[in-house]
């Protein structure tokens, strides 16, 4: 840079001289002295320029030296890199060589072990040291198959033959010893020997042997459990026996599961398969005895059993069924726990295997038979109890109260709860169906029958002043007084009407209760849907109750009609003068108030409202038709005047009434 600067300066100086030559001929240019001055300036700068040139050439020489040095360094780096590549390749080779050596060593070890193993197994068998023997076999099983193949390739005799022979001998010994221990019920040896089977690659055989042993044990327990000492006892002796049976089965399964879970997971189904027949057999025995002792083979309708005496049997049947269900639930849970450590597919297969045993076993069918008997007797109990309640509630001269609906729902609730206690969704559904059917078919039908024909004046509406005098009414009054039963009839009618109303609410409450209580029994959405659908059958019963109540309501309204019409006549009577009319202004409201008060003491507030609404509608429409009939203006005006006086309500209030 500096160097270039110098050159440029030089050129600039020369150009200035040339310019100067050109310019000197020009008279308007500077004088000579000025030129001299400039020349002197230029010359004085030559010195510095030369100095700078010297420095530059020195620097150039130095640069050449640096370049040579750099080249040498670059060559060196290249060489080092090549060397490093070489080294790493060598290291790799070394690694490979070492791993091969290790493999060779292992194989040699394997082969030596194999010799040792077969000899060791035999020695261990002789010494009854089965743990060591099994450890040898386990070693053999974990051996690299390559070792043996390599040995054989070199023409050696297959070293596995000896080992396999030794392993088989060990297995035979183990089986033999196991059976011996099982015979002696030597629990500790059984457990010890069982743990060796998975080591010699025979986990299944071990589980089978253990299960066989446990099944035999359970069989003995179950045989004792089956015996019912007092078959005619009222207590749930058969359900208790069945409980003992499934408990013995469950204990055996658990005994198989605990050791197997550690050494042979996912094999519980094999154990269950061995143990289950004993449980099925025991449960079958208890069931058969129960059928005979409890006379379940007879149609309950034809047996001489009273509904009352059926109750202990029902409780026992429900309990027995719930025990079977609990046992199956236990198996399912255990199977899941047993397979929990397995990969997904194996887990599914293992659980499915257990499910298959459950659905195919005799105990399942026994459970279904128990449920069938339960439902048969329960239906009988329900029908008989409801019939009895109906009989007690059948209207008789003089009765004024009824507890039919209370009684029936007490029975229904008891029956539904019992069915849920059986643990079966199908059972609960069937009972819900039966309850809905009996309630609708018997109870609602009876209420409808009783409510169809109301007694005279079930709820009295005071007559208008003018009409009080009519002969007809007076005669009816007299007749009523003469018939002392009428009052009782009225009360009973209203009692039934109230029952019909309560029945609707009861039905719905019962359905909701049943759904909530049976919810824990449901396995899956489809069982839940089934339950809810069956419970909704009680909704149909509720509708039937409401229909009966509506019938009663219609009857009461019809009975009120004559008085209502009389009131309508009075309201629109053309012969009433304005003064009289004012006196009467409050007569109808007063009468209605009396009616409401009387009714409220006898029927529900909702029913009173409905009746009042009906009466008002009737008065209105009757009065309307009468007023049209009379074409009577005076009344119209009179009414209007009266209305203006007492209208202190808002139009919204009317709208809210949805009239």
């Amino acid at each position: 840079m500096q160097f270039c600067g110098l050159l440029l300066e030089k050129i600039e100086a020369i150009t200035t001289v040339n310019q100067f030559k050109i310019c000197s001929s020009n008279p308007s240019l500077p004088s000579n002295s000025e030129v001299d001055e400039a020349l002197a300036g230029v010359l004085s700068r030559t010195c510095t320029l030369e100095g700078r040139l010297r420095t530059a050439s020195q620097a150039y020489n130095k640069l050449g030296e640096v370049k040579a040095d750099a080249q040498i360094a670059a060559d060196m780096v290249d060489k080092t890199a090549a060397l490093a590549r070489d080294v790493s390749a060598k290291v790799r080779q070394l690694d490979l060589a070492r791993s091969r050596v290790a493999e060779c060593q292992r194989r040699v070890h394997d082969l030596i072990d194999l010799q040792l193993c077969s000899a060791g197994v035999e020695a261990a068998i002789k010494a009854h040291d089965y743990e060591t023997g099994a450890a040898h076999v386990s070693r053999f099983l974990s051996m690299d198959p390559g070792s043996v193949a390599a040995a054989r390739a070199r023409g050696a005799a297959d070293p596995r033959d000896a080992m396999t022979r030794a392993a088989n001998t060990l297995r035979e010994h183990l089986v033999h010893k196991f059976e011996e221990a099982a015979r002696k019920e030597d629990e500790a040896s059984v457990e010890r020997l069982f743990k060796l089977f998975p080591q010699i690659g025979r986990a299944e055989e071990g589980v089978d042997l253990l299960a066989k042993y446990l099944a035999k044990q359970a069989e003995a327990t179950i045989r004792r459990a089956c015996v019912v000492a007092e078959p005619h006892s009222e207590a749930a002796v058969f359900a208790d026996a069945l409980t003992r049976v499934v408990e013995a089965g469950g204990a055996a399964v658990e005994k198989a599961r605990v050791p197997a879970a550690v050494v042979a997971p996912g094999l519980l189904h094999r154990a269950i398969k061995a143990i289950q027949p004993a449980v099925c057999l025991g449960a079958g025995c208890v069931y058969k005895d129960m059928v005979i002792s409890r006379r379940l083979d007879l149609d309950p309708r034809r047996s001489s059993r009273s509904p009352l005496s059926a109750e202990p049997i029902l409780a026992e049947l429900a309990l027995a069924h719930s025990r079977v269900r609990l046992y199956f639930g236990f198996l399912r849970r255990k199977a899941e726990a047993d397979a929990s450590t397995l990969p997904e597919a194996a887990k599914k297969a293992s659980i499915e295997a257990v499910e298959k045993i459950i659905t195919g076993c005799e105990l399942m069918r026994t459970g279904q038979d128990i449920l069938a008997h339960y439902l048969e007797v329960e239906r009988y109990f329900l029908e008989e109890s409801v019939n009895k309640a109906l009989k007690l509630s059948t209207p008789q001269t003089g009765t004024t109260t009824s507890s039919l609906v209370d009684d029936v729902f007490f029975i229904a609730r008891k029956v539904i709860r019992r069915s849920i206690s059986s643990g079966s969704v199908d059972g609960a559904c069937a009972v819900l169906n039966e309850v809905a059917s009996v309630v609708e078919r018997s109870v609602c039908a009876a209420l409808r029958r009783w409510l169809r024909a109301p007694p005279p004046d079930p709820l009295p509406l005071p007559p208008p002043r003018a009409a009080q005098l009519t002969v007809l009414d007076a005669a009816g009054e007299l007749a009523n007084r003469l018939n002392r039963d009428v009052d009782a009839q009225r009360q009973l009618f209203l009692a039934h009407m109230n029952e019909a109303e309560a029945g609707g609410e009861w039905s719905e409450r019962l359905a909701a209760e049943a759904c909530a209580e049976a919810e824990p029994l449901c396995r899956g959405a489809s069982e839940r849907a089934k339950l809810h659908s069956c419970a909704s059958g009680l909704g149909a019963a509720a509708a039937a109750f409401r229909a009966a109540h509506d019938l009663a309501l219609a009857g009461v309204k019809a009975a009120l009609k004559p008085r209502v019409h009389a009131w309508a006549e009075v309201i629109v009577d053309p012969d009433v003068g304005p003064d009289e009319m004012d006196d009467d202004a409050d007569a109808l409201p007063l009468a209605l108030e009396q009616f409401c008060e009387g009714a409220r003491a006898q029927v529900s507030a909702r029913t009173v409202d409905a009746l009042l609404l009906g009466v008002l509608a009737d008065v209105a429409s009757r009065a309307e038709s009468r007023i049209l009939h009379h074409h009577y203006d005076r009344v119209r005006h009179g009414l209007l005047a009266r209305l203006v006086g007492i209208t202190d309500f808002k139009i919204e209030d009317i709208k809210r009434l949805k009239l």
């Binding site: 069937a430 059917s437 108030e593 409905a610 008002l616 209105a620 009434l657």
Partner: protein, 208 residues
């Protein structure tokens, strides 16, 4: 809420193995299930179909045929709108049991229930019950009759659709004009004023 106007319960009965479950599965899921186990108790399926532009929900109850489930299955008869009694056309015993099934139906079902006799498995070569025998039986007992094959999907759709149509017609006939307890709209003129009088009382009562 669910969008349907009619809900009908259809219950299938008949001996075990005649193909009740297959018929239901064919109709509700459109498949012929390979080797499923026998039904236990009752199964419950739903399909909504359309009849004359109206949604009809069919609640189909598939029952187990074995004797020991009888007390469960019987409890479903009474609320059924239609009962399908199925036999296997290639299995005489399933036909011979029909009178027993009819007795059950008489005892437990509503006497107005729609009853259909179905001879299933028409795809099979080894037919044992000629069509006219089934037809005669149905006619004698006042039942509709149809032969089906759940396997070949023959007449299955038709079976359930005809039931839906028939039940809907019945339901429409039964639909009575609703009880009308209302006073009706408030008209002007005289009647309006009369009503006023009555309402005042009512409102006073309600405001108390």
């Amino acid at each position: 809420m669910e969008d349907y106007k009619f809900l009908f319960k259809v219950v299938l009965v008949g001996n075990a193995g005649v193909g009740k479950t297959c018929l239901v599965r064919r109709f509700t899921q459109g498949l012929f299930p390979p080797g499923q186990g026998a039904t236990i108790g009752v199964d419950f399926m739903i399909k909504t179909v359309e009849v004359d532009g109206e949604k009809v929900k069919l609640q189909i109850w598939d029952t187990a045929g074995q004797e020991r489930f009888r007390s469960i299955t019987q409890s479903y008869y009474r609320s059924a709108h239609a009962l399908i009694l199925v036999y296997d056309i290639s299995c005489q015993p399933t036909f011979d049991c029909l009178p027993d099934w009819l007795r059950e139906i008489e005892e437990y079902a509503n006497n107005k229930v729609l009853r259909i006799l179905v001879g299933n498995k028409t795809d099979r070569e080894d037919r044992e019950i000629p069509r006219h025998i089934g037809e005669d039986f149905a006619q004698r007992h006042g039942m509709y009759f149809l032969e089906t094959s759940a396997k070949e999907a023959e007449n299955v759709e038709r079976l359930f659709m005809e039931i839906a149509v028939e039940l809907m017609e019945q339901a429409k006939c039964k639909e009575l004009p609703k009880y009308d307890g209302n006073l009706g709209p408030i008209n002007g003129g005289v009647s309006c004023r009369i009503r006023f009088f009555v309402y005042i009382f009512l409102i006073r009562k309600l405001l108390q």
